[in-house]
């Protein structure tokens, strides 16, 4: 990184094309000034400009260097594949040690988290997100791929362990579906953008009951369609290996397909839910009590049988709902 200060802007951009977005996002106009070195470029601002635009030359030089370092690291590395995340026991709110062996969660697994409000579900999630090393209130430690994890999982904004899908989430941008996914793909520097965007929209449509087009404004999507797009987008574009789902409402979206999409993209799925149809789809469930992991239950064969009964009931309920929506008079629906 020796003296980028004395290199021409044009050369820098040729070598590091991503610098264009740095100049752009920092409001630095460079067109027509490409032949200047960075030092010459910054020296070209007069006092008024420096004051008006709040240009901090020293800081910007430093930040350009940082940005280049980060982007090289980001682009150069293979995506780290997270195959396992291990939770090592700490203690509950009464400082009683948690009674479980290392809890290893694998790629493609669905784990449910159950327990009343305030029992400590968020703290468990917080421990995973912050890759706790015995330094959080629970004293738990988190391992990634059986090893003490790299600090980047804690501090780098591009490498977050956990992505979230929650019932309260809404789209707030004023964009079409296509533009929206494109923006996300851009920020992730994805290649073959068109293909990826197309795949996400297709998948979302296969999850949603009613289809939408790439031109639909995201803010006018129905609840089910929004949820479907969020899930498909997160499954395919988010880099985070773990997806936390905070309930998925049972309307306008095929929840089973949604989960299998996430699993097929090699995500670890953590689901905070008390909906039996969702919870029993999981491989295991973690029971939280008084701030601690109280036990870990493997979904039993009997539970799986019960699940298929519940799913049948679920479908019946959905069929009634559809009839209602279509303006029909409700008649008894026999087994669906």
């Amino acid at each position: 990184m020796t003296s980028i200060k004395n290199r021409k802007i044009a050369d820098l951009i040729r070598e590091f094309p991503f610098l264009t977005s740095f100049f752009n996002d920092n409001g630095l106009e460079i067109s027509g000034k490409e032949e200047l070195t960075l030092t010459e470029y910054f020296a070209g601002f007069d006092e008024d400009e420096i004051e008006d635009k709040a240009i901090d030359t020293e800081n910007l030089m430093f930040q350009i260097g940082e940005f280049i370092k980060q982007m090289i690291a980001f682009l150069g590395k293979e995506d780290d594949v997270v195959t396992t995340v291990t939770i090592q026991p700490g203690f509950d709110k009464s400082r009683v040690a948690e009674d479980f062996d290392d809890l290893v969660i694998r790629q493609g697994e669905i784990i449910c988290i159950v327990g009343p409000t305030g029992s400590g579900k968020s703290r468990l999630l917080g421990d995973i997100e912050w890759v706790a090393q015995g330094d959080t209130p629970t004293g738990r430690s988190i391992l990634v791929n059986d090893r003490i994890p790299d600090k980047k999982w804690r501090f780098s904004s591009a490498d977050k362990l956990v992505a979230q899908l929650s019932q309260n989430m809404n789209f707030v941008m004023d964009l079409s579906v296509y533009e929206f996914v494109e923006l996300h793909a851009e920020s992730r520097m994805v290649e073959d953008r068109d293909i990826v965007i197309g795949k996400i929209i297709d998948k979302a449509n296969s999850l949603a009951g009613e289809t939408f087009s790439p031109d639909t404004p995201i803010t006018s999507l129905s609840g089910g369609q929004s949820r479907a797009l969020m899930i498909a987008d997160t499954a395919i574009l988010s880099k985070s290996p773990i997806i936390l789902i905070d309930e998925i409402e049972n309307a306008g979206i095929d929840r089973k397909k949604a989960l299998s999409l996430l699993v097929s993209e090699d995500k670890i799925v953590l689901m905070a839910t008390h909906d039996p149809v969702l919870a029993l789809m999981g491989d295991r469930r973690i029971v939280i009590k008084n701030g601690g992991i109280h036990k870990v239950i493997d979904t039993t064969d009997e539970e799986r049988k019960i699940l298929s009964t519940l799913e049948k009931m679920d479908r019946t309920l959905l069929a009634y709902r559809t009839k209602l929506r279509q303006g029909q008079i409700i008649k008894k629906i026999e087994n669906t």
Binding site: D56, V172, V181, S238
Partner: protein, 230 residues
């Protein structure tokens, strides 16, 4: 004692973040006080007092709020030093996005929220670009994609900052922030000789002095005109 300057646009969630973070700091045995700076009105001091946190409030009124901050920060720091606090947190709103209250050698935190729009990181000056830690709030109500895009935009304008997500309602993430605030190496016993990270703009014109009439003949001092063609 550590001084920590926290600033951010109005309603971005500064007070909620600070209250939750102080909960965690207290559990670590640290004595924390707050200095709340605002313009015309705030009742956040009541919230702090209710939470048992010693607080001083300053309203800038007719003065530029960041200038007011910098004219008072030394006195407030001395108050906190005299009272043996471990941490003094200053909270101030960045109003015109041009100034920042950050001081060299003093930890600086900027709080902005996901709802403010993805172009917001571009619009905020030194308050965002020179912060050590950027806290992003309201991530629980926007989509994961928007969270990721917003964070990456923040990263482009301030690559060296630590970017964290905090939920001001539940406090999720505030414990993590609390572990990054206090550093023995950053202890101070006075602000004498310290400097702002970035100068505040000079603006002194007849309107600063109370002029209300419109028209060129009433404009004196540091006045600049837009270029309006045709």
């Amino acid at each position: 004692m550590n001084l920590v300057t926290i600033s951010g646009p109005p309603s971005s969630g500064k007070t909620s973040v600070i209250l939750k973070t102080i909960d965690s700091l207290k559990k670590q045995g640290l004595k924390v006080a707050v200095a709340k700076f605002d313009c015309l009105y705030t009742d956040d001091d009541v919230l702090y007092a209710k939470a048992g946190i010693p607080v001083k409030k300053g309203l800038s009124g007719a003065l530029c709020p960041d200038h007011y901050f910098v004219s008072n920060v030394e006195e407030i720091t001395n108050w906190a030093l005299n009272n043996d606090f471990d941490i003094l947190i200053s909270e101030s709103a960045g109003l015109c996005n041009r100034c920042s209250p950050y001081i060299k050698g003093i930890k600086a935190v900027c709080v902005i929220d996901n709802l403010s729009g993805i172009n917001t990181p571009k619009k905020i000056g030194p308050m965002l670009k020179t912060a050590d830690i950027v806290v992003i709030t309201k991530g629980d109500i926007v989509s994961q994609a928007e969270r990721e895009v917003f964070a990456s935009r923040v990263n482009t304008v301030n690559p060296s900052a630590i970017i964290m997500h905090i939920n001001g309602l539940t406090g999720q993430g505030s414990f993590e922030l609390s572990t990054l605030l206090y550093e023995e190496a950053l202890n101070i016993d006075s602000l004498k000789g310290m400097e702002l990270r970035f100068p505040m703009p000079a603006a002194l014109c007849s309107y600063c002095l109370g002029e209300t009439r419109i028209g060129e003949s009433y404009q004196m001092g540091n006045v600049r005109k837009m270029k309006v063609e045709d």
